[in-house]
């Protein structure tokens, strides 16, 4: 009998897989974005508008991760972008292995941007590295400005926070300044955008950030 010291995090094998995947994507000039939010925050709606605005400039594909159904993939394909449905087999998140399987399903075509629309959940997806170069999270106005306090990890690991459904702000007591202050306290470098997919407000700023990220990744 002997004792072996490991001293590695439980998700170490996933972290290694994610690192390898990130390297391969960079080599191919594909930007992978891990899009995270709670159910109903507007992930698919944000993507629909973004794809419509950017599909003439970039080759875009979407991987829809859900526990079940393919309604989101169908919505994306209607816009002419390639979409695959990844089922997580009951899991509450995507990991690097599942992401690789979904990427394989996209086939050999080149994409400038692949968006992984993660399972609607503000907790578990934050814990698992999928191999994405950038993590983008959404928080919709009806959810409330206190969410950084309740789900700190998600705000800590995200590169970008998009506040969505700003068109309904007059009907809710959402304090934008308080929300941003709380998010920046957890993550001083987080980029924050405010958008409404209904009116198109704020999409220019978000899309120019995204276009720059795609171009930087190809360089």
């Amino acid at each position: 009998m002997r004792i072996i010291e490991l001293k590695e995090t439980v998700t170490a094998s996933n972290d290694r897989d994610a690192e390898v995947l990130r390297g391969e994507l960079k080599e191919k000039g594909t930007l992978l974005i891990n899009l995270m939010a709670s159910p109903g925050a507007g992930k698919t709606t944000l993507l629909e508008r973004t794809i419509r605005d950017m599909k003439d400039r970039f080759e875009i594909a979407v991987m829809e991760a859900d526990v079940d159904s393919d309604v989101d993939a169908v919505r994306i394909e209607k816009l002419g972008a390639k979409a695959v449905q990844a089922h997580t087999g009951g899991m509450c998140h995507m990991d690097a292995g599942m992401t690789r399987t979904a990427l394989d399903e996209l086939g050999a075509d080149h994409f400038d941007l692949v968006v992984l629309e993660n399972v609607g959940n503000l907790i578990c997806p934050a814990e698992f590295d999928t191999g994405a170069q950038k993590r983008v999270m959404l928080l919709s106005v009806p959810e409330g400005d206190d969410k950084p306090l309740k789900y700190p990890l998600m705000f800590s690991v995200s590169d970008v926070l998009i506040l969505t459904k700003t068109d309904v702000a007059p009907y809710f007591d959402f304090d934008f300044d308080a929300c941003k202050r709380r998010a920046r306290q957890l993550n001083p470098n987080i980029e924050i955008f405010e958008v409404s997919a209904k009116t198109g407000d704020g999409f220019e700023e978000w899309e120019s950030w995204l276009a720059k990220a795609i171009e930087d990744n190809r360089a």
Binding site: I4, E5, L6, V10, T11
Partner: protein, 114 residues
């Protein structure tokens, strides 16, 4: 809240280690779990006991959990305090400018093998 997902990754890490080091059977796995890692230890152990039976290398592995106390640092008065007792607000100066120093990790400390 995602104990089963963590167990899957734990099992994968251990199987990789076993294959690399030519280990046939793992007898004990010691994990260090942070107080605020969000892992429910009872449920975690249940998941492990369900899962290990499916893997020959892990079948005999008892799970041992050690707790890492959570400690928060206050950026305003630069003192540290126990997170679980006081939460996000510094008990000394009542500042909200605080950061978790440790207590959200889940580390495989060591394994005992045959």
């Amino acid at each position: 809240m995602h104990e089963m997902g963590i167990i899957l990754h734990l099992a994968k890490s251990l199987e990789e280690t076993a294959a690399e080091q030519d280990i046939q059977k793992i007898l004990r796995v010691t994990l260090q779990v942070g107080e605020v890692s969000g892992i429910m230890t009872d449920y975690f152990t249940d998941c492990w006991n369900y899962f290990r039976k499916r893997h020959p290398v892990l079948e005999t592995a008892e799970l041992e959990l050690e707790t890492i106390p959570a400690v928060t640092f206050c950026g305003n008065c630069e003192r540290t305090y126990p997170t679980v007792q006081y939460g996000r607000e510094c008990p000394y100066c009542h500042s909200g400018e605080t950061w978790l120093l440790r207590g959200n990790e889940c580390i495989i400390k060591e394994i005992e093998v045959e």
